[in-house]
Symmetry: C2
Subunit: 328 residues, 2 copies
């Protein structure tokens, strides 16, 4: 092979360029989910594959891995304000995992992940593969229009549904790059092993409270850049949503908390924009379901993503996790 | 690992036993597709994963591989009489295939496979894997009840939508176990590389013409046994649907044509049962779309699958392709 392998985004671009677009797609290519209009309602579909080699950190149980495979997909429906109804699981098992114990643990993780969000696993497929593969498809329907990545307007408030950095810190602990006291270690590693999809928050906000939305699984910085690009606006961040534990961890290990928050990935918060006139109501609706909506900046007309550091604006680089290239 | 790896059917049994069943599933676990009632219509979903190591015969182009990944899934919807509308493709690429040429070919194969059956690829996911993985999900809706595997009644006519044995012969040629003259070789290998789903036939028969139906991708014998088990009937076959080319190939290579026909697999015909009173109409409807419906036997009250060989009844063994175990 003479050339370097392509990065994930370039691969997706090539694939999309070769596909005949379905007429009147309710959600364009490249958003968090796909959708089909069924007349009065919209069917929403998402597929996301978990690969043992790249997506499973050290020490994670098969139960947690299978559950996470579902959470990854539910998170995308959550970001569009859509209830997941049904899950299909295509599973690739290496021979060593074709045992009663391993298969039982995977099945229980799938069931737990689906039931946690009100969905059911209704079918699937099993295969023999060299590495563990759990390829999930989630189906849901909605009477509303799914919230796209492209609707942010200048002046909209940029907000997130939680604080960031714990997963990135937990991952570094698992890779043994860093250290933390036992109690903090537990919390940070738990953020990696047991991610939660913000479904209640996404549903509380559906029906026009949000102008644009994405989930943060590819990292906060990448998600904000994606909203920027799809909506044709920029963003000025006036704060970084740093989790207390991530900040402490960063200080103790001589790391920059901003790095953990912006470029962590594998965090399943929603990153969204709200028209200022609906902000109070939006925040109240999320609080009513036990969540929080944290404002972190504003949409601007200059199409750049910048962070206000004590009055000095610095650019937030569009960097994120990408398969093949590792770093885009 | 002290024990042998489990077979595919045992793995599926364990998984199903650990899942909370969705209430009122229109299609039970273990049929060709899964389904969700949406009130006036039924949403139908199928996922099936193509794995490079086990599902791609020698010399098959990436275009053909990607197309086949779709055909495999469409065939299951065809067996239930459901139009495929949309396709999602979760792709795992080894680094060596992360090139513009390879990705383009895969995308074009996916698009061709979907468009051939009127569907569109509307989304997907890409990942880095050690082996090529194409995990397809197909979505469709129907106003009819999907035809299940469980509806065959004693006295129903057992029928297939085409002749068998070419894929099994083609595969042996590719594995260089056997030989064939060039023109026959082309036809047999084409049956492996370019399978067709019997969508027109399946749609022509929906609306109550068929009492039970399955696709033959796991082999004809296995499919008949599955109809038998799910419907609680037996079958007496009075003929084997042998393709001319398969018969010639078998004779030339000293093989049993029945082996190729019954235990080949990777053939995408429909295997179905029809009430005798609707047979003439059913056959006419399939002929009207350019297909054929070949009667091969009858459903019987003794729950066994037997073949009438010149007046002597011999049992048809329940054998088929199974991952992990290779032979069940």
């Amino acid at each position: 092979m003479s050339s370097n392998p392509l990065g994930e985004h370039e691969i997706i671009r090539i694939i999309q360029s070769r596909l005949t677009p379905m007429p009147d797609m309710p959600v364009p290519f490249g958003d968090d989910v796909s959708a089909i209009s069924l007349g009065t309602q919209t069917a929403v579909l998402k597929t996301d594959m978990l690969v043992g080699k790249t997506d499973v950190p050290m020490g994670m149980s098969l139960f947690a891995v299978a559950r996470k495979a579902i959470v990854m997909n539910v998170s995308d429906l959550a970001s569009k304000g859509v209830v997941p109804t049904a899950v299909l699981a295509a599973i690739g098992l290496p021979k060593a995992l074709a045992t009663k114990e391993a298969v039982t643990e995977i099945a229980e993780g799938l069931n737990a992940g689906a039931r946690e969000y009100g969905a059911y696993v209704i079918g699937g497929d099993t295969n023999e593969t060299s590495d563990l593969i759990i390829s999930i498809s989630v189906f849901g329907t909605t009477l509303n229009n799914p919230t796209l990545r492209s609707g942010a307007k200048v002046g909209d408030i940029l907000a997130v549904t939680g604080l960031f950095g714990k997963s990135a810190a937990g991952l570094r602990l698992l890779l043994r790059d860093c250290q933390a006291p036992e109690e903090m270690r537990k919390k940070l590693v738990d953020a990696v092993y047991n991610p939660k999809a913000r479904l209640c928050e996404g549903l509380a906000l559906c029906g026009g409270y949000v102008s644009a939305s994405i989930d943060s699984s590819d990292g906060l910085a990448w998600s904000i850049h994606e909203l920027s690009q799809q909506s044709g606006v920029g963003f000025l961040l006036d704060r970084l949503p740093v989790a207390v534990e991530a900040e402490e961890f960063a200080i103790q290990n001589g790391l920059d908390p901003a790095e953990l928050v912006l470029y962590g990935g594998e965090e399943y918060e929603l990153v969204l924009t709200v028209t200022p006139s609906r902000w109070v109501e939006a925040q109240a609706r999320v609080q009513a379901v036990g969540g929080c909506l944290i404002p972190i900046g504003k949409a601007t007309s200059t199409q750049q993503v910048r962070l206000d550091l004590d009055g000095k604006e610095v650019p937030v680089v569009a960097r994120g996790w990408e398969h093949f290239k590792r770093q885009a």
